[in-house]
Amino acid sequence: MNIKESNTRLPTANIGGKARQYRRFWPVYLMMLPGLIYLFINNYMPLPGAIVAFKQYNARLGIYGSKWVGFKNFEYLFRTSDAWVITRNTILYNVAFIIVNTILAILVAVVLSELTGKRKKAYQSVILLPNLISTVIISYLVFAFFSVGSGFINKSILPLFGVAPVSWYSEAKHWPYIIIFVNAWRSVGYLCIIYLATLMGFDRAYYESALIDGASRLKQFWYITLPLLKPTIVMLTLMAIGRIFYSDFGLFYQVPMNQGALYATTNTIDTYVYRGLLQLGDISMSSAAGLYQSAIGFVLVLGANMLVRVIDRDSALI
């Protein structure tokens, strides 16, 4: 992924003469073509269409034929309270995910790395399993627990404590906890494997000398493991910050079952754009929100990458 390095090699490639190089490599270009064309169709062709955010979209006239309206769509978007709510939700959820998932993943990775016995591998594969379940099915699992009439929590857990049933799918205030929990349930196993792989690469000599000095496990964790993990933590966190303007559409749409009563705490930029496009048919507003996300997201990814580059060149994307 290092582009600089390839540029410096280009001149030597020309020694044999450009024409000869092309003669030699044309089958390679030909083989690469389908992939390059797909990226063109899937990623590059839609780009100019982003100008639809500055137009009053009319399906009959198409993106380019529709009337220009300048920044009107953005003005409307930011005049509503929606813009603030979806931005707040998207960012706060991501911040919560970063904190909760990182702490849990490190905890689990450290415990796993110190455990002995055969079951170690089994734990690892079992906690990874939720990562392979589709969001639609996750929404079924959540429903089995939280369904108002017959959910496991309302029928079996709450009565134990003498608490009255809660109408989960119509009270927005519970959803931040539910969504953060579901996300951790799904992602911690994955993140944990990355941390575990890093932990396994550490020099055991540090720990052996710490043991001789009589350092407790907690001290070892605090003074050896955590500092050694720091670069990985910083890197993964920066990557996540680069994606802070994006949210997993399924997690915020399917899991709360698209319930209007829950929008206050479940509407994110991605769900807003979807609803605008396919449910409300408000393409102008939807595309304005989409471009707002793409533009700020782009700046954040680049910024995060520049920081990563300063800290550790090899881990940067570019």
Binding site: G35, M45, L47, R119, I133, I194, S287
Partner: protein, 299 residues
């Protein structure tokens, strides 16, 4: 030399991991048990790990009277996963291989062309308009297959790194000097050496296709007969009737709806949706862990 502290730590650690492992599978177990519960019992006592009455009726109902709807969705999921994974590998591998050749003219620019797609995208609206109005994928199988899933830059760059590190350029040059064409070098030298990476990416792509519901959700608006199992599940949550609409059993929609063991059928369908993953997972589990580690920080 096990100290007391060690023993306590091991005991606590195993307990913690057992609890976490259980919490990872408990929701799935609840789903499976619910699918095997009598519908009336479920409505009365709620979703429970210890149902008062077991029943296979939900599965019977799904297969007996509505087998066609479910089986067709299953078939589409299988077809989609197979075709998608094959096409994805056919595009990803040569592209990654080309980008890994140090002497390829324009290599830097092409790498950036691939990489840039990870930084910026036009967003849902322009992508949707492009696919529907230019390519007309709405309400076709291509709507499930093509958008966003067919190939992604991350897999290309991951495989490219593998070619760079795992397939020494000297070997490829040697094959070239021996008179093998570029095509042959790739097919009979580079690809066999990159098999582990190709298998890993095939697995990632396959799982992504099997689990995808997003494409059908966006691009299949009328042709519900093209629904994959995930799309069907998604629609069933709102509208269980969908299963019944195709069977003659229901001439009177209201009456038919009353007959459907709704709650347990939902869970039975979800169990069927997860089943292939559960069956395949033990086999691919090792490779999956390795793949995550390879993608590592860059993931």
């Amino acid at each position: 030399m096990k100290t007391r502290e060690d023993k306590v730590f091991q005991a606590l650690g195993h307990t913690l991991m057992t609890v976490l492992s259980l919490s990872a599978v408990i929701p799935v177990i609840l789903m499976i048990i619910s699918s095997l519960t009598d519908n009336e019992a479920l409505l009365q006592n709620g979703y429970s790990f210890f149902p008062s009455q077991w029943s296979l009726y939900a599965y019977q109902w799904v297969f007996d009277s509505n087998g066609t709807v479910v089986m067709r969705a299953y078939g589409i999921s299988v077809l989609l996963t197979a075709v998608g994974t094959a096409l994805s590998l056919l595009m990803t591998t040569p592209l990654a291989y080309g980008l890994s050749k140090p002497k390829l003219p324009w290599r830097g620019a092409l790498t950036f062309y691939v990489f840039f797609t990870m930084l910026f995208n036009g967003g849902l609206v322009p992508t949707y308009i492009n696919y529907t109005s230019v390519f007309g994928v709405k309400d076709t199988f291509y709507g499930l297959l093509v958008p966003s899933l067919l190939m992604n830059a991350f897999n290309v760059l991951l495989m490219k790194s593998y070619f760079v590190a795992g397939v020494p350029n000297e070997i490829l040059e040697a094959a070239n000097i021996d008179g093998a064409s570029e095509m042959r070098t790739m097919v009979s030298v580079a690809i066999p050496m990159a098999k582990p990476m190709i298998a890993t990416i095939a697995m990632f792509v396959g799982i992504a296709y099997w689990n995808d519901w997003n494409n059908g959700f966006i691009y299949l608006l009328k042709r519900t007969d093209l629904f994959s199992i995930q799309n069907l599940l998604n629609r069933l949550m709102q509208n269980i009737q969908m299963l019944a609409t195709n069977s003659q059993q229901v001439s009177n929609a209201g009456e038919g709806l009353a007959k459907i063991p709704q709650a347990t059928v939902r869970m039975a369908m979800a169990t069927l949706g997860i089943l292939p993953i559960m069956v395949v997972y033990p086999m691919i589990q090792k490779n999956f862990v390795k793949g995550i580690t390879l993608g590592g920080v860059k993931g």
